[in-house]
Every structure is written in C-alpha cells, then in structure tokens.
Amino acid sequence: MNYKQVCLIIVLTFCVACKTDVHLNKVEGKQINISDSLAIDTNIEDFIKPYRDNVNKNLDSVLAYAVDTYSKRDGNYNTAIGNMMADAVFEQANPVFKNRTGKNIDFVLLNHGGIRAIISKGKVTTRTAYEVMPFENSVVVVTLKGTQVKELIDYLVADKRAHPISKLKVVLDSNEQLKSAELDGKPIDFNATYNVATNDYLYNGGDSMNFFKTNDSLYVLDYKIRNVLIDYFTKIDTLNPVRDDRFIQLNN
C-alpha cells in the first residue's frame, strides 16, 4: 500500500465519518408569491412566445357568428345554449355511431352543469368551444333498457334542471309531474331498448346519473364534446339556437 492509497482510505473514512455526523440543525420554510413585481425571464418568455402565438391564432380563429348572447341561465327546463349542445352532439356523433354500428342514436342527454361558459354575441371562436367545454369528456353511446330510460326520465322530472336533451320530448303537468315522454312523436316504450348518447363523465355516474351503469352495451366514440362543438361551429355560419318545447311544464 503506497502513500496515496493510504491517503485515499483516510479520506474515505473521513467522508463516511462526516456522513454520519451531519446534523439537521435548522429548517426554515416559507412560500413566495409569483406576483407581477417579479422580473420576467426574457429567455423563457421568448421560448414561450411562438407557442402562445400559435395557440392564440388557433383559438381566436372565427368559426361562426352568434346572433345573440346565450347563457345556461336563460330559461327553465330547456335553454337555447343547451339545446344547441345536445343537438350538436346528435348531429356530429350520429354519423360516427351509424357508421360503426348500423344503428342510430335515439336521443341525447348531457348535463346542465357541463355548460361552463356563456356564448357571447358576435364571433364564435375555437376559444369559445374551450370556454364552454374545457374538459376532455367524450361522447359515449349507451344502450339502455326501457326501465332505465324510465329512471332517466324520473331523474329529469325530479331534478327540474335544464339538462340538455335532443330528440327526447318531456312534458310536465302543472304539478311538475310527468305528463308525457316521447321520441319522434311516439311515447317511449319502456319494454324496448334505446341508444342514448351522453358523455363519459355522466356515464361514470357524474351528477348522480346512476341509470347509465347497468347497460346492455357501451360504445366509446373517441369524440370529445369540445371537438363536437368545434366541428359544429365550423360547419355552420350563424349560431342561432332557440328555446323550444322539448322539455316544458304546462301551465294548466
């Protein structure tokens, strides 16, 4: 063993000794707010800029024009914006579903809480679609037994919210009890099965829509609700949805 090796061993011994010896003496903790008083790192800012420009260019590209401002608070039982969303899901998703299965979607049910923003009068952009539907939820089609459709109708009657529906027509009497539930002008046959389009959030029990779970079949279309809206806005020129009689309460 030469001198250098001896030294190395001593140094190693020293380090090991050091390791077991270090002592955590004091800990100081705080949080620092990232406020606008902090300088902007220009290197980082320059790196972000092309991404930001591209995102903004895309988000702000005009897809359609809205003739009015539409909010989910405009009306009981059904709203223009909700009707538009449910109708758009039917219009955009049914061809995909039919192409894959040979069958049609019978009706659509979304949730009132899933409308996350208003649509303002004027330019409708991709950003509008992101605001209205920021989540990544996708369209699913669920084959429900008549008994489950009954539960679904009972849910709508009891909840009294303007959950967006399409193709389905629900009428309540003046006592808020179910008067009729129809598809294509015919009463729903509670012994038949129906293909109901919704989103994966509701299918998985979101908003306590528990009637979706024990279904005959589930079809995952891999079609995001937001993309449904973007495609729908792109297709139309003018956005002019209306409140109608798809879910109403009779006065007498």
């Binding site: 020293f14 270090v22 705080k30 972000i48 995102v55 992101y130």
Partner: protein
C-alpha cells in the same frame, strides 16, 4: 499536484483529530445549507393570469417563476427544484401540445425531480410516455407499479441527489386512480398503499442509503376533512418516520405557511403545499452542521 497533496495532508490531519480528539472543540465545520424549491398542480399555467381574472389577477407565470428561481440559485447553488404532480391539463397549451411545452419549460428551469399526478394521465399513460423525451428531469413514484405499462423503467421509486456532500433521498407517491381517472387512461398501473410504500422507502433511504435528508413528493392530497379515512399528507406524516419534508399536491391547498407535524417517533417534520397554477413557490431551507457533540440538540423548525 502540490496543492492536492496539501489538501490530502490536511484532511488526514483533520481525520486524526476527528477520530481521536473527542475533547477537542477546535473542530468547527461550516454549516451547509440546502434549499428546496417546489411547485404543485401547475396545470399547464404557463402564462400569468390576466389583469381581469376574478380570482388571481396578474399572478403566476413561468417566466416570472424562472427569474425568482434564478435569483435563489445565485444566492445558494445547493438548491433543488421539485414538483408534486398535475403538471398537465388546465389551459389550451396542454390541449394543443400535449404537455410538450410544460416539460420543456420545466427542463429550462432545471427542475430536478417530479412525481405523477392524476391529471398527468389525461392523455393516457401513452400520452405521458410520449412527452418524456422533453423532460430533462426525473420522475419518481414509489406506489404506482408501472411494470405492465409503457412507463416501466422510466419512472423510478426514488432518486438520490448529493448536494454539497449532503445526501438527499426523494421518493414519490401518487393518489388512488380508481374512480378518479378512467381506467383506459392509466391502463395497467397498479396503485399500492402509500403508507406501507413510505415505510419501505424510508427504510431504504435511511438505513441502506444513509440519506441525510428524506423528501416525499406526494400527490395524495393535504387532508380530507370529510373523508378522514383517505390517505393524505397529514396522515402519512404522522404514520411514518425519517421523512423530513412532504411536498404535497392534488387538493390545491393554499397554506399560509408550511405545517409542522409530529411523526411516528414524535419528531417534528414539515408538510407543505403551495396551492396551484404556479401562483406560489415553496422554499424550504435545511441547515446542516457537522458538529459531533450536538446529540442533545434537536432540529429547530422556523415557519
């Protein structure tokens, strides 16, 4: 080589004093300071909130966080930068680029380690895997078993970093995915009990690896008032030992200051979380001394 010899001689001499001279008080090693900076639940918030934002006007933004981190690093080069998950999802940057920009920026800011949050599966486990080449930092998760997924071998249970001779062990914990994330997204990822996993991790990091500092990067959530049975950072802290700091996430908890918790041995440790969206940066400074005769001294925690 003359200088090296001199250093070795000096070290040898010091060692002799250190080993033999128990009564000597002239052995006064300098204090070492390790700074741990951390974020959680940034959720793709790359730009600051706008001036008209109803809740957080003019707050956050990666470019400002970068300048703050740079100035802290200048002050103390022995600084670690960590993230406790949910890097993804929340602004169109994620929808457009799938997390690429988030990872690239975190790499530019020189993040060291991150753990995986539930929203990091939002483009499925393949979506996360596809973005990994953009991350020049490591991911740790000890209670997600990725063996039967594409992330196998790409995510380690823990990572050890040595700064200024201080050995720092960092392990990751993730939240239960079932019921929270679509199975189609997390695929064959297996969730393991976080407390048991932590006991295993601390055993490895303390006993086998002899770490001086143990940090848990957790996406379990700070505390569930209405579901006290759920695993949380506060529960984990009280049920384990040897963890010096739990950096939390998931619950978007804004704390006025880090929480001091008594661990299983009755020793004080810290749990911290800094809200969400890059609005705050957590900063924990650990001061070490090498004094052999300090066995009576505990650790003072100042928050």
């Amino acid at each position: 080589m003359k200088r090296r010899d001199f250093l070795q001689h000096t070290l040898a001499a010091s060692t002799l004093i250190g080993l033999g001279g128990t009564g000597l008080t002239s052995f006064t090693p300098s204090t070492k300071k390790i700074t741990v900076l951390h974020t959680n639940d940034v959720h793709s918030h790359i730009d600051p909130f706008g001036p008209d934002d109803g809740r957080n006007p003019n707050q956050g933004g990666v470019a400002r966080r970068a300048s703050l981190i740079n100035s802290i690093r200048k002050d103390n080069p022995n600084t670690l930068l960590l993230d406790a998950g949910d890097i993804f999802q929340g602004t169109p940057y994620f929808n457009y680029y799938g997390g690429e920009l988030e990872f690239k920026l975190m790499s530019m800011l020189k993040y060291d380690v991150a753990t995986i949050g539930n929203h990091d599966f939002d483009n499925s486990i393949e979506g996360l895997y596809a973005q990994l080449p953009h991350a020049k930092f490591d991911f740790v998760s000890a209670n997600y078993d990725f063996s039967n997924t594409v992330l196998d071998t790409h995510v380690k249970p823990y990572k050890i970093i040595i700064k200024d001779g201080i050995k720092i062990g960092i392990f990751g914990l993730g939240v239960k995915l079932q019921g929270l994330v679509d199975k189609n997204m997390y695929k064959e990822t297996v969730y393991l009990d976080p407390t048991e996993t932590s006991q295993e991790m601390t055993k490895i990091l303390k006993d086998d690896e002899q770490c001086d500092l143990i940090i848990c990067l957790s996406h379990l959530g700070y505390h569930y008032k209405n579901h006290p049975e759920r695993p949380s950072d506060l529960k984990l802290a009280a049920a384990t030992k040897h963890i010096d700091l739990i950096i939390g996430g998931h619950t978007h908890t804004f704390l006025k200051k880090p929480t001091i918790v008594k661990n299983l041995e009755g020793k004080n440790m810290l749990v911290n979380q800094v809200g969400c969206y890059g609005i705050n940066l957590g900063k924990i400074d650990f001061y070490f001394d090498g004094n052999k005769n300090k066995s009576a001294n505990g650790t003072s925690i100042i928050v």
